[in-house]
Amino acid sequence: MRELRASLVMILAIGLLFGLIYPLVMTGISQLAFPWQANGSLLRQGGRVVGSALVAQRFRGPTYFHPRPSAVGYAANGSGASNLAPTNRLLIAHVRRRAERWQLRLGNKQAVPFGLVTSSASGLDPDISPAAARYQAPMVARSRHLPLHLIDRLIARHIQEPLLGILGRPVVNVLELNLALDRLSAAQKASGG
């Protein structure tokens, strides 16, 4: 009986300390020190929250850069992968269909960057490779009636290089790139270009 009581009291006390006080204290410090990150890294455009810098969102049509395909329909609260095995016939069919669709969009027979035809592990991958961004540039330039070199320059400015040139690999954040693209279009219109 004494054993049972000790166990029960111990787990309740540990529960109070580590299940309640610990997360609360961490929340307090994070909210003070890193409020933007601690609240989901939300991005605004024109005063309106349009998404999280860390979460891919769906972009359709030729006027925006597209993120990688998502196995979960870009559901931010339900991340997940396709979990298709490398020998699964469905995987090959999916990749082929996506590649063909890209070639149709671009109107050429160029080989498609692999990231654009494969779903990521989270289904929310916010990044594409610089090559995948440059691949989409002609489509975006044409539909927005902007010169290609401006789009290429925009991409170059949005490449996040590896930390210290070592850690990780260069990526482009799709949402940030698209928001900058909208600003670029607006500026061009304003200057009568």
């Binding site: 166990s7 580590f18 609240n39 860390l54 992968a81 979990n83 590649a99 990521s120 592990a121 690999r169």
Partner: protein
């Protein structure tokens, strides 16, 4: 390998190598001496003993230690099961979620009790905040229990003619307050700084640029991720675990969580060296663990750098390697580096989708689990796991040279040898006996999501992950279906307690012995010769047990992939 990758490896491993020895020695002081942190947390420690009515100075024989551990686990487990079944009547349930189904609740309670964190439930859709908090509590308790068992075994090896091996509650509480707590706080803040949410706010509904509605998650994700990594738990706040950009946002956060996976497991090796007074042996054991880890990485990276001929034949640029189920910010390289760490430790978090990994990469993960997750293994669990192999080799080598086997001066008798065999064989026996019926029964096959040999790999992986208390999965496997939920639950239970009990029994039996002086005829238990013997024990026990099963699963899939064979066949 490009220079940047070499530099990356140096940084990743360098940080762990720099931190592990001081941390290991500090941990030895936590369990057998005093630490400066006790000046601040000492009152809290004493309050915990006082309210629970335990005397931390009362030393226990092994069976009392084990009994107290089991009663504590039973009470915690039943409590957790009750919370998951009754969450609709409990506070902090704003979405008015109903109870978890019985099979899934049983699976989840065992899963978090045993440091496995196999996730048959869907956190976002099925668990109230209160239930999530109950899981976080077990994420602290289960590694503390693992460390307690490990240090009890270390004491058993170190002590001379002693009837006792320590006090369970003292080891538990000191592990929580002086090892886990001071580590999780700075790491939680680092993760939060990198972008992992840490709030009390509900999910934030957002209308995207093109008008989609997204629910951006909030909640105490950084706090949970921190203990999930430090405590070799692996059960994530989000569905995609450490592949989710909100849980592992950047290349820097990936470095941080990778270090967190390996830190305490490797440090425990040096805690052992301090407590048994043989730093040389600690380095030998470390070298064996590191060898398996590096070999696993080399195989994984080599396999992930290419895609099969059927994918390569499509009009795509696949030369940089397999990106299916891989995040752009990590790529095949950092995903390959993560895989053998999370499966070598019984961590089980993932930063890529293992189900879509190439067959050899998937087999490395599977093989790590089949070794019992001992390279370097979970918090505490890795060290007591590999000590079974150490004792096994001492016994075997002793028999071969015709001398009484001795380990650090203590004679290894039939009783210890029998206990060692239980601890060594439970992993292969439980995995194979549970996976065999699962591979034929229709109720189990409903969980399988991929056709062909990969389907068998999914089943093998589920039970190996359960028995090894790892918790990673081939994610397509339907873990929530009743048969799989219950049987994987059984796997996790067997894999935890049928190793803990013999470990404590060995601790008790070794503590009672006296060391004889080492002579020229004693088998040295450190150095490269012993390291090689230990490595072969680790590999041969698993190799002999699992080769047929691996041949039918990942090996068959490997040859099919490179022959361009897809499944289903037509």
């Amino acid at each position: 390998m490009p220079a940047a990758h070499v530099a990356e490896l140096v940084i990743y491993f360098g940080i762990v190598l720099l931190l592990m020895v001081p941390l290991g020695r500090y941990m030895a002081r936590v369990y057998q001496g005093e630490v400066w942190l006790a000046r601040w947390l000492g009152p809290l420690e004493r309050i915990l003993y006082k309210v629970a009515g335990v005397d931390p100075a009362a030393e226990q024989p092994w069976y009392r230690y084990a009994a107290q551990l089991l009663v504590f686990q039973l009470v915690s487990g039943l409590g957790l099961y009750a919370i998951l079944r009754l969450q609709q009547f409990l506070p902090l349930n704003p979405q008015r979620l109903g109870p978890l189904p019985p099979a899934v609740a049983f699976n989840t309670a065992v899963s978090f009790l045993t440091n496995t964190n196999w996730q048959a439930y869907s956190g976002e859709a099925q668990l109230s905040y209160f239930s999530q908090m109950a899981l976080i509590v077990q994420q602290f308790v289960s590694p503390a229990v693992g460390l307690a068992v490990a240090v009890a075994l270390f004491r058993g090896i170190a002590r001379q003619s002693s009837k006792t091996i320590g006090n369970f509650y003292r080891d538990l509480v000191r592990g929580l307050l002086y090892v886990l707590l001071p580590l999780v706080i700075p790491f939680a803040l680092l993760l939060s700084w990198q972008g992992v949410p840490q709030s009390l706010a509900p999910y934030h509904p957002v209308t995207t640029v093109q008008g989609q509605v997204q629910q951006i998650p909030g909640g105490p994700a950084a706090a949970m991720t921190s203990i999930m990594m430090i405590g070799s738990n692996g059960g994530g706040y989000f569905g995609a675990n450490n592949a989710d950009p909100l849980e592992n946002p950047s290349a820097l956060s990936n470095l941080i969580v990778w270090v967190m996976i390996l830190l305490v497991p490797f440090a425990t090796v040096f805690t052992y060296g301090e407590m048994v007074g043989s730093r040389r042996q600690a380095w030998t054991i470390f070298a064996v663990m590191l060898t398996v880890l590096l070999a696993g990485f080399a195989l994984t990276w080599n396999s992930s750098r290419a895609v099969g001929p059927r994918l390569a034949a499509l009009p795509v640029r696949s030369s940089s390697g397999n990106m299916v189920g891989v995040e752009e910010r990590f790529g095949p390289f950092l995903s390959s580096l993560y895989l053998p760490a999370t499966t070598g430790v019984s961590n089980g978090s993932v930063n890529s989708a293992f189900d879509s990994a190439n067959p050899v990469a998937g087999m490395v993960a599977l093989a790590d689990l089949m070794l019992g997750c001992i390279t370097p293994g979970g918090d505490g669990a890795g060290m007591y796991g590999i000590l079974f192999h150490v004792l096994f080799i001492v016994f075997l080598a002793g028999l071969m040279v015709g001398r009484t086997p001795e380990f650090l001066g203590k004679k290894i008798s039939i009783r210890e040898a029998k206990l060692v065999m239980i601890g060594l064989l439970i992993t292969p026996v439980a995995i194979l006996l549970l996976a065999a019926p699962a591979a034929v029964l229709p109720a189990s096959l409903a969980s399988v999501s991929n056709p062909g040999p990969h389907g068998l790999s999914q089943i093998l992986y589920a039970y190996s992950s359960g028995v090894a208390n790892n918790g990673s999965a081939f994610g397509g496997f339907g873990a929530a279906l009743p048969y799989s939920a219950i049987m994987v639950g059984v796997a996790m239970f067997l894999g935890r307690y049928l190793i803990i009990l013999p470990a404590l029994a060995i601790a008790g039996s070794l503590a009672a012995k006296t060391s004889a002086p080492v002579t020229a005829g004693t088998l040295p238990t450190s150095g490269w010769m012993f390291g090689l013997l230990l490595l072969s024990s680790v590999l041969v026990v698993a190799g002999l047990s699992f080769f047929p099963a691996l041949a039918l699963g990942p090996v068959a899939e490997h040859f099919a992939l490179w022959a361009g064979q897809l499944f289903p066949l037509h």
